[in-house]
Symmetry: C2
Subunit: 406 residues, 2 copies
């Protein structure tokens, strides 16, 4: 498995582009993206668990039911959520506009939106911009970059990547991009993740691989505990690599591993770029009864406002970690809990068997001053282990979200 | 029912006091409190739902099992949580010290602590201060004030109150105090609530009245989603009013109402004084399937970091409210949801039947600029209704909690 350039355009047969059509108003930022394959795909997708689903989610879910999506059109600046029948019509129209330009069926086209909720999506800029959008498509890294920029909202970093593996002697590539910064919590986020691959594989196997990867990546990220109305992760596989399709065997295993690796990379980048975040927080729980228990416990610690604020202040307040584990709703014995804080500056044991150990405050502060902090929790001898990614809570989060609509 | 002065000392036969013994270090703030009755009591209590329970909670739960607690000793500056066997011994010793001074049994004495978790409780200042603490006891409002000051941590306001009702022609009084500002979430909070009454009533009826009152008050407050290790609400009833004891009838009903009214007053005050909070946020859900569903939905909106940050910025971002309802895990039809924002400056409909209505941004901003904001949500025609109190999320919350231990 090796890292390569090109993002979603790295796999053969995919192009991407992005333009500023004007949904975001007078800013010069791009706000409309398109990613497509030059041939039919098998596809798989997962959507938000929020009961309130954006129009784009409802329409995409319908289109994707056939598992043959080969293009996605996405806008930022407006979530097209809580927008009623007009919103559904707008999402359908977006898909139809893109499909017509690409000469494919609307049902082969997914739609995604991110931005403010509850404001009607202005269709005029999209109608006017669709030609330019299609013209912007490129098979190079520039296409990936333009599309990625066009789906960013409060994101401050471009979050993408690509990998190459071998599948039966044939090079197979995977590329991905993700946007997501706030309204981010397990079961996905205001998170749009688009993944492309030139692998040939059965739709059922693709779906299985995606679910496994998402469980260990995007569903283990928390920024602020808010699960968005618009979450979507979509993978399109066009088979252009020419490998012999299979839903098992070493080639498929390598593909599954690569997909998980790519998704974890994107998920970590999303946590690191959490709204207002200055630090990436990795919480590992070991020794829990099983993996699900470990995941719930780790999420509880990573989501705690008090734990996050203490990380922001480089305060080794491990009691808040144990407290957050305690209200997670998962049985464990606090008297067996060990807590270690770690970073590239070292590691330090703060809590042994549920109680305090004496430690150097200076050393703890030095460790917590780093931009990537780990909290490692051991709860006993159980086999359950999980890693969750989050970020610190800063004043900037409050500032960004105190007046988002203005 | 009428409001009276005196707090926990308003009911006959109760005294309170508070001193600075030095747990908080070199500050001049009080840190040790005592409240007691001059005669035996029946008592009832509720404790944190956190799996990780402070030593004070474990010892108090044991002592209170008999339902005859007549005194409570409480300290701030140290939570005595995650402190192992030494912590348990310290909590027992606190109870014994207070009991000896009062000439009562240790089992008649509750212990409460609030402050930093995971640091051994220093007993020397408590041993040295117990005489001065007993000497500080007073039956007047000054006793209430001193005790209340001594349990405050990041609290910025004194939160207390007292009510008088008639029970069979006899005046009966209830008084209360609460501390709580951060680490506050349903199922209580870093919340210590001590309530006194001179009512005569059976222990079983007192317990029933307390559970009902807590359900509609303290368990409907959320500040930051963190359920503390140290929560405790304690009520002591000493019968000094001389009413004829009963667990039913109009006198008891008046008592139950008064207790709920007092607890709601204290709960609202706690939300208003949430760490860093500039605004009290009241979320009402009506039309849900039942009361429990309404409560869970209202809490989801009141706990959302995004909703809270938008309130801080006076941003009428109702889409975040609907989004937060959507991930609460309770079925409802978003297409029936109406959302109104209100304050003393007026009220404004922002969302009708799940979709946007046009409204004046200026008017919305004027309404949201007030210090007490209401979000009223109607979901349909169901009978379920609940009110939850929370607060806005500000930079000050982050500042307070970024370096709490220093």
């Amino acid at each position: 498995m090796k890292e390569i350039d090109g993002g979603v355009c790295a796999p053969k047969g995919f192009r991407a582009g992005g333009i500023r059509c004007g949904i975001k108003g007078r800013t010069s930022k791009r706000d409309l993206a398109l990613i497509c394959s030059d041939r039919p795909c098998v596809s798989a997708a997962m959507f938000t668990a929020n009961l309130v689903k954006a129009a784009s989610v409802l329409v995409s879910r319908e289109h994707l039911a056939a598992g043959s999506c080969r293009a996605v059109i996405a806008n930022s600046g407006n979530a097209n959520a809580c927008t009623g029948e007009a919103g559904i019509a707008a999402a359908r129209r977006m898909a139809a506009l893109a499909a017509a330009r690409l000469g494919i069926a609307p049902e082969e086209t997914a739609v995604a939106s991110t931005g403010v909720i509850g404001v009607p999506l202005p269709m005029a800029p999209i109608e006017a911009g669709i030609g330019a959008l299609a013209a912007s498509l490129s098979a190079g890294a520039a296409g990936h970059d333009a599309a990625l920029e066009a789906i960013m909202t409060t994101d401050t970093r471009k979050k993408g990547g690509a990998l190459e593996i071998e599948w039966g002697g044939v090079p197979v590539r995977l590329g991905g991009m993700v946007k997501g910064s706030g309204m981010i919590h397990p079961n996905m986020a205001t998170m749009l993740a688009f993944i492309t691959t030139d692998a040939a594989l059965p739709a059922e196997a693709l779906d299985r691989a995606l679910r496994r990867a998402v469980k260990h990546s995007f569903n283990r990220v928390t920024v602020d505990g808010d699960t968005s109305t618009n979450d979507m992760v979509l993978i399109m596989a066009n088979g252009a690599a020419g490998n012999s399709p299979a839903g098992g065997g070493p080639g498929f295993s390598a593909f599954v591993d690569a997909l998980e690796t790519l998704c974890i990379k994107l998920a970590r980048a999303m946590a690191r770029d959490g709204e207002g975040a200055a630090k990436l927080l990795t919480v590992t729980v070991r020794g829990a009864a099983d993996e699900d228990a470990a995941e719930i416990l780790a999420k509880s610690a990573a989501s705690s406002s008090l734990v996050k604020a203490a990380c922001s202040g480089a305060d080794a307040n491990w009691g808040r970690v144990l407290c957050a584990l305690g209200y997670a709703g998962i049985p464990f014995d606090p008297a067996l809990a060990d807590i270690v804080y770690a970073s590239s500056a070292g590691e330090i044991l703060l809590c042994r068997r549920g109680g305090p150990v004496s430690f150097s405050e200076d050393e703890a502060r030095r460790i917590l001053a780093e931009e990537e902090i780990e909290i490692r929790i051991t709860l006993g001898n159980g086999p359950g282990e999980a890693v969750v990614w989050g970020c610190d809570l800063t004043c900037d989060y409050v500032k960004i979200n105190g007046d988002y609509r203005s």
